[in-house]
């Protein structure tokens, strides 16, 4: 029984946190007593969630990708150029391809040129952002109505971006759990040496992982562009940290080796809920940033906190046992 609880706390803790948070918001704010509030939350969350699918793979493999926000901006800028010329469907396909190319480029830097992921993606964070500025120095507005509908319409009351996130999440989960690529990702995150002995090609796996990140990031960019209705080279600054916090809050260890896409998605909704809650209570934007920072710190230290809590539980249990033994022996005497 106790063991079961531990597992649940570790792996589904974020889900409970989300539900409790929702109940609190509904109880204290009339703004949250209608469906549209939640529709907005999950739409906002889906942008983080879609990108988070790829990021979960990277973090499971033991790396980080800091360039996703810039990838979003670059894809968005190119997309707004393409849309008027070739229409929705071809543009979307080309942007997904562009994402794959950007991701693969990161992967090659890391896997073949052996640049640490942190440095390589930090460099590309600036590189892709600069490219975005070259493509579109000024904001471009999307005129295409069909394209805008992609993010603003609903299917049975569910916002389309959220459905896209669920589809991406299911695809990601299948890849992670049911394909050699997923198993190899987990294996690399556990031990490079053991992976090498098991005949796994680490560079090949890494390149494929970053290719996937590029694809999912491009998908997120398409949804974001559609919802904002414009592109701008400075857009989504800091988005990479939102995505990384979602993955880490979802319980994926920063050192790699284990993780889940489902909990990443839940954590994305959790973060969007906090944002929306702060808006509802009219917390000022600088304060919001501080709170986001605190959550990020909490997310990054969650493993440390968990270890501390476990340590504390073990110690107090042994202290209790010692007390009981003492009391027992005193009673015996």
């Amino acid at each position: 029984m106790k063991k079961k609880l531990q597992i649940n706390f570790g792996e589904l803790g974020i889900l409970y946190a989300l539900l409790i948070f929702w109940l609190i918001l509904i109880a204290f704010s009339p703004n949250f007593r209608n469906i549209s509030a939640f529709q907005n939350i999950v739409r906002e969350a889906s942008f983080t969630g879609i990108c988070g699918v790829g990021m979960t793979f990277v973090i499971i493999s033991g790396d980080l990708d800091l360039s996703v926000a810039s990838q979003v901006a670059l894809c968005s800028c190119v997309l707004t150029l393409l849309l008027p010329k070739m229409g929705v469907f071809p543009s979307v396909i080309l942007i997904l391809l562009l994402g794959a190319v950007l991701g693969t480029f990161n992967g090659v830097l890391i896997a073949k040129m052996k640049i640490p992921a942190f440095i390589a993606t930090l460099a590309m964070m600036f590189g892709y952002r600069a490219l975005a500025q070259i493509v579109n120095a000024t904001p471009v507005v999307v005129e295409n109505r069909l394209f805008k509908l992609m993010s603003t319409s609903y299917l049975a009351g569910i916002p389309v971006p959220f459905i896209v996130m669920i589809i991406c999440g299911v695809i990601g989960t299948v890849i992670l759990r049911k394909t050699a690529l997923g198993r190899h990702t987990l294996a690399i995150g556990n031990s490079h040496e053991a992976a090498r002995i098991a005949g796994i090609s680490i560079p090949r796996t890494q390149i494929l992982i970053y290719l996937m990140v590029g694809l999912f990031t491009a998908a997120a960019s398409i949804m974001i562009t559609s919802y904002l209705g414009s592109s701008n080279y400075g857009m989504k600054d800091g988005f990479e940290f939102t995505v990384i916090s979602a993955v880490v809050l979802g319980g994926t260890a920063l050192v790699g080796g284990k993780g889940s896409i489902f909990t990443t998605a839940v954590a994305a909704i959790f973060l969007a809920t906090i944002k929306s809650g702060m808006d509802a209570f009219q917390i000022q934007s600088y304060m919001q940033r501080i709170i986001e920072g605190v959550i990020l710190i909490f997310a990054f230290s969650i493993n440390g906190i968990r270890a501390y809590v476990n340590d504390f539980l073990v110690k107090s249990r042994s202290r209790r046992e010692l007390d009981e033994r003492r009391r027992g022996s005193a009673a015996g005497a």
Partner: protein
């Protein structure tokens, strides 16, 4: 009077008793060797003296005073410096900076480079070395780095210097330089504790020798009163009957043939073959190159020359993936960090090598994976609570069974297993031995690399012995005993006439 008096020292690690009730005393100004097989407890004892480990019980007296050594600093204060097997130098700093790293001379907060270099020069001159204080340590040869380590130890003005396998990485010429230095240190009144596998060095250098075996103190003798054979017998001398005994079976054709395999600095001109159904042992002392040889066959180390032929086909040796496809299975000695995928489930751990063959359209088949797991569970008597249990929560023996099963699942013809029973309990040990024998009977060729001689003697049909990267022994079942193997492993004799039965 004894300068060091060690009384009743015991030390346990999870699952192993590394030292039990060891007492010995070291005289001032002598060169005292500590010898023993792999795992006899030599290094543990030295690490306790050096403050790296804490003894569970027992006392250490230096010059008659009881010492509480809880850290490296405590050891230094007590006058003990240890030069560990692995060098602890900073390659980007100069010789002088490395020597004085723990007590840099300063003017206020500024490093006093001139004083530092002058003091280093003095020290270097007194040791008769050809080094400059301003040389970058990273640019020096290994032996020169070793000398810097020794200079560092002397700079602490320690009276007692412990050297743990100092010649491990040195060539003959460099060993001579070290010998000369040790003799000079002895003349200047220092006490030296010298740990080495190489018996020749012990006879060349030391005044007395203490022998440890399986964590217990055996004896201390004057070196000149001993012969090589005496020493080897003192190091091994163990009842063999208590171990598993294999029953013989007929062997098949030659499966694997290794010819002139060479890798500079690791092993040289290694040739041997293994037959179907044969259990071939590979023995040798730590650092002799035995692991490197089998790792080269599996493609983890690229050889400079030589060939490996499996079933008449010469292998390309491109890496582990190629080796697995060619039919070589491999179980590592470093189960925890290079074997298991700790945070993954037992099922995922089992099938890691063969995902492609149990997949359809790129998706891993649940049913096939489960079936494999059930098969191996039954065959190997594995114990786990569910297929989704994390492998890290299993016992060492069960983890080892999973690694073995993973290698077998890819249908190998040759199985290479390093330290098959390291860190697993007695019951699981016997099970692993039975499994290996069963597998051999079914025609698999098995190479077992092990530090435990009784293990090799009891389960292997034949054994190779490696000394300094060369094969110095090829012993058939009848010739195999601990003394003969140790003689080959220490370079005392060569016996290459053994045949497969």
């Amino acid at each position: 009077m004894a300068i060091i008096e060690i009384r009743n020292i015991s030390k346990s690690f999870p699952g192993v008793k590394a030292l039990s009730d060891v007492s010995l005393s070291i005289e001032e100004g002598e060169v005292h060797a500590i010898v023993g097989e792999n795992g006899a407890g030599k290094s543990t004892l030295m690490k306790i003296l050096g403050g790296m480990y804490q003894a569970d019980s027992g006392e250490i007296f230096i010059r008659g005073e009881k010492q509480e050594i809880h850290s490296i600093q405590d050891a230094m204060k007590a006058g003990v410096s240890v030069i560990y097997q692995e060098l602890n130098l900073m390659p980007e700093l100069t010789v002088a900076e490395n020597i004085f790293a723990s007590g840099l001379p300063v003017h206020g907060v500024v490093l006093d480079i001139r004083t530092m270099n002058a003091r280093a020069q003095e020290l270097i001159d007194s040791m008769n070395l050809s080094l400059k204080p301003t040389d970058m340590v990273g640019m020096l040869s290994v032996s020169q780095q070793q000398m810097v380590e020794i200079a560092k130890a002397i700079s602490h003005e320690s009276d007692i210097i412990i050297m743990d396998e100092p010649t491990g990485a040195l060539n003959n010429q460099e060993v001579d330089v070290l010998y000369a230095l040790i003799r000079r240190l002895k003349e200047s009144g220092k006490t030296i504790l010298y740990i080495s596998h190489r018996l020749k060095e012990i006879f060349d250098l030391t005044d007395r020798v203490s022998i440890l075996r399986d964590g217990q103190y055996v004896a201390t003798k004057r070196t000149e009163e001993l012969t090589h054979n005496d020493l080897v017998k003192l190091m091994v001398g163990r009842e063999v009957d208590q171990y598993y005994k294999s029953s013989g079976h007929a062997l098949g054709e030659t499966v694997l043939e290794v010819k002139n395999l060479t890798r500079a600095g690791m092993f040289e001109d290694v040739s041997f073959s293994v037959r179907s159904g044969e259990l071939l042992g590979v023995a040798g002392l730590m650092g002799c190159g035995r692991e490197e040889i089998v790792k080269a066959i599996y493609g983890l180390i690229r050889p400079d020359g030589g060939t490996v032929t499996l079933g008449g086909r010469q292998l390309q040796m491109k890496g582990p993936l190629q080796a697995i496809r060619d039919g070589i299975g491999f179980v590592t000695e470093d189960r925890k960090s290079a074997g298991i995928f700790a945070l993954m489930t037992v099922r995922e751990n089992l099938t890691m090598n063969i995902l492609r063959s149990i997949s359809r359209f790129g998706l891993i088949s649940d049913a096939k994976e489960q079936e494999l797991l059930e098969n191996y569970k039954k065959r190997m008597n594995m114990k786990f609570s569910s297929p989704a249990q994390r492998i890290v929560n299993l016992s060492g023996g069960n983890q080892q069974k999973f690694l073995l099963a993973r290698a077998l699942a890819s249908d190998c013809k040759v199985l290479i297993m390093l330290e098959p029973t390291r860190g697993i309990d007695v019951g699981a040990k016997a099970e692993i031995y039975e499994l290996l024998e069963e597998l051999a009977k079914s025609g698999l060729a098995i190479i077992v690399v092990s530090s435990e001689l009784p293990e090799i003697i009891s389960i292997c049909h034949r054994t190779l012995v490696v000394f300094q990267g060369r094969i110095t022994g090829n012993l058939s079942k009848t010739e195999m005993d601990e003394v003969t193997i140790m003689e080959c492993a220490t370079g005392t004799s060569e016996r290459l006439d053994g045949d497969s039965i």
